[in-house]
Structures are given as C-alpha cells and as structure tokens.
C-alpha cells in the first residue's frame, strides 16, 4: 500500500467530514466543538505555568519586606511604607501608605510618582469600584483624593484592588500595620528554597486528575455520530472500498474533525483569553497577556489531539465489521475479563508504594512515578467500569416497565452506557482523591490560632498604645458593635538587659482584663499574675518564678545585646495575686503580668502596643465595614485581622482554589458531552419511540426509562469512583505521611455533584424526547 | 380461470407417463387432479391425444387388459417421448402480445372521449381484486398445487393492476399526448 494511497484515503475521509451533506457536517461540527472545548482547556492548562510564573514575578517585584531586625537608617534613598491592606466585603484590597524620605526613594512597580499626603493612586478596578457608588463605605475608609492609576506592571490581574496613598509621620517597626523602611522593592530573599515535596505532588496530582477527564472527553467527542459514519462507510464498501480503505477513510474523517477542533479550540482559547481579563474567579483575576501557552506544550497538544482522535477511531472500529450491506458488530462480544482491569490500579499502587512516607522527611517524589501511578489508578476506573456495569446489569431483574426497558437496553449495550459516564466517574474519583489529600494534609498547612471567633470577630492592632482608650471607645460606639476591649502588651524580663526569661505584661482596665482571666476582685492599681494554660512545662514555671519575684522589680521591654530596650522597672507586689485564665480568653497565649493602668509606670508606656478586640452583631450587613471605617479614622495605620480558629498557608489555599476551578470546568465539559451523546442516541431511536407511542406507551414510561438508563450506570460509576478515589486518596496521604481519614460529607458532596451533572443532562434531554415522540415522527415512513 | 387452457395437453400427458405406464383413464384422473381444477379433461380428448402420440411414436402400448372398450390399453412413454418432453420443458414460451388488450383500448377511449380514465382504472382494479380475493381464498384452503396455480394467476392479475397504477400515475401526461 503506497503512501499516496494512504494520503488519498485520508483525504477522502477529510472531504467527507466537511462535505458529507448535512448529517456529515453536523457530525463534524459536534466533534469539532467537543474537541475544541477540550483543546481550549488543554491550552489553558499549558498556559497555567506561565500565568503562575508571571504573577509570581509581579509578586516578587513589588515585595516590600525587609526581614531586617534593625530598621534601615533613614537616607535620601529610603521610603517608609505601611501595609494598610483591607477588605471590602469578601474582596481583599491591597493597600500601602508611602512616605518617601528623600528624592531617591524607590517607586513601587507600576507607579511613576509618589502620591502626596491625602492623595492616592488606585488600580483601575479599585477606581471603578470607588466610583460605582456601591462602595460608599470603602470610599469613607480611603478618604484620599485619587490622582492617578497604577500600571499593569504593579498588578497581578486587571481586577485586583490596589491603592498606594501618600502619608507622613510613619514609624518603622512600630505597632499596628506592618511598617518598614525600604531602600528598594523586590523580594530580598528570592524563592530559592526547594519546593515542598507534598505541595509538588499535589500540583502533579491536580493536573493529572483534571486532564484525565478532558482526555476521556476528547475521546468521546471523536466518537460523536459514529453510527451514522459507519453506515456511510458501509455504502462505500458497496461501491468497492475494502475494509482497510474504510478504516483509513474513517481515520481521515476523525483527523479532519480533530484538526477543525484544534482550530476551534484555539479560537475558544483566544476568545476566552479576551474575556479572561474581565472575570474574577474565586477572587483572582488574570491579565490575558499572561495566558500564554508555552510553545512546546501547545505543540504537544496540537500533535497529540489528532493522533489520539485517529487512535480512538481505529480502536472503536475494532469491534465493528463494516460490510457492504451494513454494519456488523462482532456478534457476541467476549465477556469482559476482570484480571487485567484490576491490574491497572494495582500497578498504580505498585508505582506509588515505594514513596510512602516520603512527604515527612523532606524527601522528594519522583514526578514521573507520581504521574504514572495516579494515571494508572484513574485509567483503572475507566477499565473497571464497563466490567462492573456489565456484571451488575446482567443480574438485574426486570421490574416495572420503564425499568425493564432500561435494564434490557443496558444489558444489550452496557459498553456504550459505561462509556458515557466514564468521564464523570474519572473526574469524581480524581476529585475525591484530591479532596482526601487536601483534607488530610490540611493539618500540615494550617496553624491553630487557639482563638475563639465567638468571643471577638475582629482584632485591631493599633500603631500607638496611647490610642487604645479612644479607639476602643470609638469602636464601641460604632453601629453593630456589641463590645470592644482595649488591651496593651509589652514584654517582661527579670533583668534590665539580656533577660533569660521572657513573659508578657498586659495592661488594661479591670473589665478588659476580665476578658482574659477570672479576677475575684479588681480595682485600678491592682496587678495580677497569670500562668498561661499553654505554658505548663518545668521551664515555663521556672521562667515565671524568675521574673515574678514578689517584692522585687521586673523589667518591661528589657534590652538585649544588640537591641536597645526601655527596661522600665515595675514592682511585683509582695502579695502577688494569681488569676486563672479563662478558657475562652481573648489572648489565649497571654502569660505573665496583668496590670491595671494606674499600676503601670508612665515610662513604660512607649513600649506598649495596643490592640482592640471587637465583638459585633454579625447578622448586620456590612458590620465589618463599619468597624474598619472607624478603625481607619482613629488610626490610619491600624492593622485589622479577622479572627479565625485556624490560619492556612497561602500557597496551599491557592492550590485548593485552582483545583475547585478546574473541577467545575471539567464537570461542565463532561456534562456537555453527555448531553450530545444522549441526544444522538435518542435521534437514532426516533422511529422506534414514535412506534412505541403509537401503541399507547405513556411518555412518562419512556422518560423514566431514559432516566434509569443514565441513573443505573452513573450510580455504579460513582460507587466505583468513590471506592477508587478513596483508595487513591489513602495512597496519596500515606505518601505525604499524613493520617488517613475519610471525610464522608465531602465524598458524598462530590459524588452528589457528579450525579447532579447526569441528572441535569437527563432532564435536558426530556424536552427533545417529548418532541421526538410526537406522532408526526411516524410520518417519515 | 385457474386451469391450464393454453398448455399443450399432449406434452402434459407425456410428462405424466414419465413416472410409469398408465391406463388412459388413470391419465385423465391424474391430469384432472393436478391441472384441471375448473374443467375436467374430456376422456375423448385423452383418447384422441394418445392416438396422435402413438402415431408419432412418442408412446407405445405397454399392454392390453382383457375386456371391452378402448380404455383397456396401457401406455408407456418411449425414448423419443422423453426427449420430446425434455425439449418442450427446455423451450421458452413466446410471451403473448398484450399490446392490444381490451384494457388498453378502454383507457385510451376514455381519454379520447373526455371521460374520467381514473374511474376506469378504479373500477377495473375493484374487479381484479374481486377475482384475486376468490383466488386468495382458494389458495388458503387448497393444497400446494392449488397454491402454485393460484399464485400464477394472482401474479398475472397483479401485473395488470401494476400497469393500471402506473397508467393512473401517468394519466396527466397521457391526456395531453392523446388529446393534443
């Protein structure tokens, strides 16, 4: 067979794809759109590393940390900067106060001049938001005149909310919002550390889990309209094409469809990129320019997709003999065997097993083994599902008529049924595994803050202790605030310099101190000792004994070798009263001396940093905004934190966010393909359905039967997905040396989403079903 | 209608003899059973035919039983007779010339006289169907031979009707051609 012959057959198939009449055209269009959606998603994935690195570059360039123990000396090239980032409802606003100390002070990226005091530069999105009138409360908080815009070089995305405001009198390393003196922007310690092996593994798994269903989807899209295609090929056999030729023609058709799909995919991707700038996904926005597929990966997609299309077509035609007078499916397909199907996940396990426990010791995972192992697990789902469906439906007994019809249909073509839900099953299995992995390692990326969010919902660190009283009072008067508690803290040592033991001194009136500890009686001038519940070791006790010697002095803000402290002596009373910490203390880590204002030496005041704890009526809309506005008014450099019981590592959070975005895209895609193939099946059976209606079959019976036909395989698919997903999740957790636990509500939720997709698709097919079963359907005879 | 009027009785009788010698009366009975549903063969015709066949050397007298009357002769087929049957079966029948059938005349006349030719067709179809129903009914009750012979007639009648259907479909064209 000459190459020319090959080319001619392929070309003929390609011509059929685009000129095969309305039917051929519809089929090609379906395939092209399906493949196109898959390709667009693949291109997006190949662009993701670029997006991540571009965003990372901006983050590094605008980093404003110093990590220095001593503030830099003031110079004509230094800048004072305070991190006054805030929140607008659920959106984070990056905010900085800038105070240049000389003409050579560094400008942040995207900014060409410093705003004067009372002025600010805003990102376009923030400008829009402030101008919209919807954000009146935010405007009150940022009462600066807008004099310019921040350029794209200084923003992570077009929807990012950022402002730089001019300020005067900032004090580095004071209390309140982080305030630094900078000589330059940019990360002083660029990220050279080895990536966390567990995070790396999770990234790999997320990619595999999201791309696998896309592959399944593309494979399904290539098979759209296959039955019609087979009939056309039979007609070609009749006029003399041999079996091999028909195969090549089919391959040509698939090739053409997938090539058009590539173009459609590129188009969809470009169109998506255009609108990408105006959407915010889970709080993140992206510059379209960042969405640049890496050329090598894009090339890989461009080659792999058509190759897969041809391969899938040839594989699908393996069980089909195209005879001149029609299509013969190899009569009784061999019963599906279990052993090699089971082998796949077992092989996956074998690949992953050696890496058990490696997440612990900072060890590293072999990327290829991780990818291969996870892939094998998930392919195991697609291989096991047809076997499972076949076995299960073979045992089902016919019950009511709609059920009977569905069961019989599944028995006759369990492969088709399994294929249609394969994508959903793989996606759900992957998502369950990921979910388990995330939940399991969450502990490693979450710090327990020990704080009780029911006692206080906001914690405001003030730049100056002297503002504690007025700030607490102002906030107490704010709408929606139930209580505000002002406290000031400093450190306490047993010696003026180079103290060996360090405790806290906490200053507040009696009412405020009672938020921390049970005080039997209290008057201004009293002092109490407090042993923090978390400080119960021998060492802690010795430290307390060393500092809190009744009748002796302790020293507030002791100095150390290289740090000048105030070292203000404070007398520990002869009869030191011990207070017991409240279980729900506002400062669970407080440990040392509780001092009422009159008992504090005046000289110690500058060493204090002040905090206000706020309890509010959370049912009131925008209550947080009111409090933030009050705080910004009394102290523009205040730092406001929402109290959460846990804090999560930012990288971990962004990975989890990425997974959720990806999983929803994938499930939607799969839903679309499911819809197409179901409509196609209905169209194939149009005449039969009309005949059944002629007999007087109730449409409800037909509708229910269609529902059972998807519900049965999807139930089996989801059961299998849950089992394999949990198995894979357990393996991954063992690899990251985390405890294996199953979060059942999450498993149920994910399978529920999968079931929901199938149910929605089935409901969408009902109107066409009803239309098709109108008696007019018989007329075509 | 179902009889075999057009067939050659001589060849048929010869064919019946091929399975073995028979008396003249046996021959008549065998013929009637197989072919002569409507009109039994007259014995005189058997006698006359056998005489002609004897003369031509296609049959011979196998034996004469004692007794009176001409039907005592037993006939057997000769080799020449077998050859003759073979030749007859092997030669095709000349298709009849249907062009000048009455039906055609009626249709054309109806057109020429501006009568509704479709009526002629429908009436004729109805009449054909009446006959065909009788045949179908007989076929249903009869044996294999009945079925074969009735089918033969049914197919011919159906052919007439097909021609009628086609003519009906072409009536418009026919009208313009004939009337013009």
């Amino acid at each position: 067979m000459s190459a020319r012959q090959y080319a001619r057959d392929l070309g003929m198939g390609a011509r059929f794809a685009v000129t095969g009449g309305r039917e051929g055209w519809v089929r090609t269009a379906l395939t092209a759109v399906g493949v196109g959606m898959g390709v667009a998603l693949l291109l997006l994935t190949t662009a993701l590393p670029g997006v991540v690195s571009a965003r990372h570059a901006v983050e590094e360039a605008r980093a404003d940390y110093t990590f220095a123990v001593h503030p830099l000396p003031k110079g004509d090239d230094t800048l004072l900067l305070a991190d006054t980032g805030t929140w607008w409802r659920t959106k984070s606003v990056r905010g900085r106060l800038l105070e240049p100390e000389g003409p050579k002070a560094p400008l942040p990226p995207g900014v060409d001049r410093f705003p004067a005091k009372g002025e600010m530069l805003v990102s376009p999105a923030l400008g829009e938001l402030l101008a919209s009138g919807d954000a009146q409360l935010l405007r009150e908080r940022l009462p600066y005149r807008i004099t310019g815009t921040i350029g794209a070089k200084g923003l992570l995305g077009p929807r990012e909310l950022v402002y730089y405001a001019g300020a005067e009198g900032l004090k580095p390393k004071a209390g309140g919002a982080r305030t630094e003196r900078l000589r330059t922007f940019g990360d002083p310690q660029p990220d050279t550390a080895q990536a966390d092996p567990v995070l790396l593994m999770m990234v790999l798994v997320v990619f595999v889990v999201l791309l696998m269903p896309v592959a399944v989807f593309i494979a399904a899209a290539v098979r759209f309209g296959g039955e019609r295609r087979d009939r056309r090929l039979a007609a070609l056999r009749l006029v003399g094409a041999d079996g091999r030729t028909t195969r090549r023609i089919a391959a040509g058709e698939a090739l053409a469809g997938s090539l058009i799909g590539l173009v459609v995919g590129a188009g969809l991707f470009l169109a998506g990129r255009r609108i990408a700038g105006s959407v915010t996904v889970m709080g993140e926005s992206f510059y379209p320019a960042y969405l640049d597929p890496s050329p090598l990966l894009a090339l890989l997609v461009a080659l792999a997709v058509p190759a897969c299309a041809v391969l899938v077509t040839l594989l699908a035609m393996r069980g089909v003999v195209i005879e001149p007078l029609g299509v013969v499916r190899t009569a009784v397909p061999a019963r599906r065997r279990l052993w090699w199907r089971l082998l796949l996940p077992l092989a996956g396990l074998a690949l992953l097993y050696p890496m058990f426990g490696q997440g612990h010791s900072g060890g590293d995972f072999n990327q290829y083994l991780v990818i291969a192992g996870v892939l094998l697990f998930l392919i195991g789902v697609t291989a096991l599902l047809p076997w499972l469906v076949e076995r299960a439906v073979a045992r089902l007994d016919p019950g009511p008529l709609s059920w009977h019809l569905a069961v019989r249909r599944l028995q006759l073509s369990s492969g088709t049924a399994a294929r249609t839900v394969n994508g959903v099953a793989v996606a759900v299995a992957g998502a369950i595994a990921l979910q388990m992995l995330f939940a399991g390692v969450q502990g490693q990326y979450e710090k327990n803050t020990g704080k009780d969010p029911s006692r206080a919902q906001l914690e405001i660190a003030l730049s100056d202790h002297s503002r504690v009283g007025p700030a607490a009072a102002a906030i107490a008067r704010t709408k929606g605030v139930r209580a505000s508690v002002g406290l000031a803290t400093a450190s306490l040592g047993e010696k003026p310099r180079d103290a060996d033991a360090a405790l806290d001194v906490i200053v507040g009136d009696c009412a405020s101190l009672r938020e921390l500890a049970h005080l039997p009686s209290c008057r201004d001038g009293d002092t109490f000792a407090l042993a923090g519940p978390e400080y119960g070791t021998e060492f802690d006790r010795a430290s307390r004994d060393a500092v809190l010697r009744p009748g002796h002095d302790a020293y507030i803000d002791p100095g150390y070798a290289d740090v000048q402290g105030l070292s203000v002596p404070v007398a520990v009373p002869e009869h030191l009263r011990w207070a017991t910490a409240r279980g729900d203390s506002l400062m669970p880590r407080a440990n040392g001396l509780l001092v009422t204002p009159a008992a504090l030496p005046k000289a110690a005041e500058p060493a204090l940093s002040g905090e206000v704890f706020v309890r509010m009526d959370q049912a009131l809309p925008d209550v947080q905004e009111y409090v933030r506005n009050t705080a910004a008014r009394v102290d523009p450099v205040a730092d406001i934190m929402a109290v959460t019981p846990t804090e999560t590592s930012a990288r971990y959070t962004s990975l989890r966010t990425g997974m959720l975005i990806g999983a929803s895209c994938v499930l939607m895609l799969i839903g679309a393909s499911l819809l197409v193939s179901q409509l196609e099946q209905l169209r194939e059976r149009r005449k039969l359905l009309s005949a059944l209606v002629a007999f007087g079959t109730r449409r409800r019976t037909l509708g229910l039967s269609v529902l059972w036909q998807s519900a049965l395989p999807i139930t089996l698919g989801l059961l299998l997905a849950a089992a394999v997903g949990m198995g894979l999740g357990a393996v991954l957790l063992r690899m990251s040396a985390a405890e294996v636990t199953v979060v059942w509500p999450d498993v149920l939720a994910l399978t529920g989403v999968g079931a929901g997709v199938v149910l929605a698709v089935t409901l969408l097919t009902l109107p066409p079903l009803l239309r098709m079963t109108r008696p007019d359907g018989l007329r075509t005879e | 209608m179902c009889s075999v009027l057009a067939m050659s009785i001589g060849h048929t009788l010869l064919g019946l003899l091929e399975s073995g010698p028979r008396h003249g009366y046996d021959l008549k009975r065998a013929f009637d059973d197989t072919f002569g549903h409507d009109r039994p063969l007259a014995y005189g015709q058997v006698y006359a035919t056998m005489s002609r066949l004897l003369r031509n050397g296609l049959v011979e007298v196998d034996g004469i039983e004692a007794g009176d009357g001409p039907d005592r002769k037993r006939y057997a087929i000769t080799d020449a007779g077998i050859t003759d049957v073979e030749r007859w079966l092997a030669s095709p029948e000349k298709p009849e010339d249907y062009l000048r059938s009455t039906l055609y005349t009626k249709v054309v006349l109806a057109l020429l006289t501006h009568r509704d030719a479709a009526d002629v067709l429908d009436t004729q179809r109805s009449e054909h169907l009446r006959t065909m129903r009788v045949l179908t009914d007989r076929k249903r009750r009869g044996d294999l031979a009945d079925q074969l012979i009735c089918d033969h007639a049914l197919f011919h009648l159906e052919a007439d009707l097909r021609w009628l259907e086609l003519t009906a479909a072409r009536l418009d064209r026919l009208r313009t051609e004939v009337v013009a």
Binding site: L405, R408, L688, G696, P775 | R125, L129, R133
Partner: protein, 229 residues
Amino acid sequence: MTPPDGSLLVARDLRKSYGPTAALDGAAFSVHPGEVVAVMGPSGSGKSTLLHCLAGIVRPDSGSITYAGRELTTLSDSERSALRRGEFGFVFQFGQLVPELTCVENVALPLRLNGTPRKEAERAALTWMERLEVDDLRRKRPGEVSGGQGQRVAVARALVTGPRVVFADEPTGALDSLNGERVMELLTDAARSTDAAVVLVTHEARVAAWSDREIVVRDGRSRDMERSA
C-alpha cells in the same frame, strides 16, 4: 355516504394538512368487526395519514371519527393513548420491535403497558407466538431473527391484547413474497378468529387481496369501491 349499521370505526369528511399540503381532503372510512379493509392508493396519496387519524395517533384538522360510539377527535392525548393501548393493535412496515428486548418481551409489551404483571403477560405472549409459529424465537433479540420472523413477532405483538381493531401499515412492505403471504395469512386468520377489524394500508394488490373490501385514497380523498360500484 352513510355507513351501514354495526360499523365499529367510522370516519367522515376527514381533513388534515401538514403545512400547505393537504394530506387528507374529505376522506371517509368505515369498518365492521371482523372485517379486513384495505386502504389503497399511490404513494403520497394520504393512506398513512388516514391510518394515523383513524388510530387516534394524529388528530385531524376537521371531520369526525367514531369508534364504538365514541368521538375520537375530542379525546385528549392521554385518553387516545389509553384507547390505543387497550383497543387497538399496530403492525408497521419495519416491525419496530424494541431491539434490546427479547421477542417474547416485545410481544408482551402492550400487555405490560396495560399493567399486566410480567409473568402473566409473557405467558399470554407465548401462546400468541405459538399461534404465529415463532415461539421458538422467544429468547432471541429482534436483531437475531429474519425479517419475516420479526414481522410475525410484530403481528403477535399487535394481537396480544385482543384488540378490536388492528392497524397494519404496509406490514409486508419489507418482506419477500413468501414471507409476505405468510404474514398476511396469519394476520387475517388471527384477526378473523377474534372478530377484530383490520385496517390494512398497502399499495400491493396481492396483499390487498387478503382483504374483504378496499377503499382507494387519491389526492386525500377516499373512494369506497364496493359501495360506489
């Protein structure tokens, strides 16, 4: 034209258009219990539309259809469905057997639509299959049987509910002469023995010859040959 007394299904002056084309333009019809009526006519003459109207599958634009004293045209869709389930049987050109059901399940289907339990329905189906000489196919799927056998299964399915009218739309159209004959013989015998009326749409005279009477449809109008002759 007034139909004779004792007619089971009578239609008068039926009109039905699909878009601008009139499929029926004043057609009439009647059939007695136990009578086989052939509906003849060229393709596109409105034969099938007439059958669909008579069977209550399609509602005519105007005209009346009376079945056993009930006016069909005023019944709701679900009432007509119930009537088709209970009183009518159907045979189509290409069997239209449900491919995933076995033959006996296909035959039992109309009974099950009426709520007969499965075992009982299949027992009844089997006696009909015996009668149509296809009982040996009971476990086979329609894809595994020949066209003639499939059509006999379809006839069994049409008769299993003991319908009072059987509608057959070109029931032999896809069969060779021998199988066509056999299907017609079995269908008409069975219908006559149960006193069911048969409405037989065909364009073949040899098939129509199994009827008792024919009507001709031409350009949407019907002509009853027996009574107009």
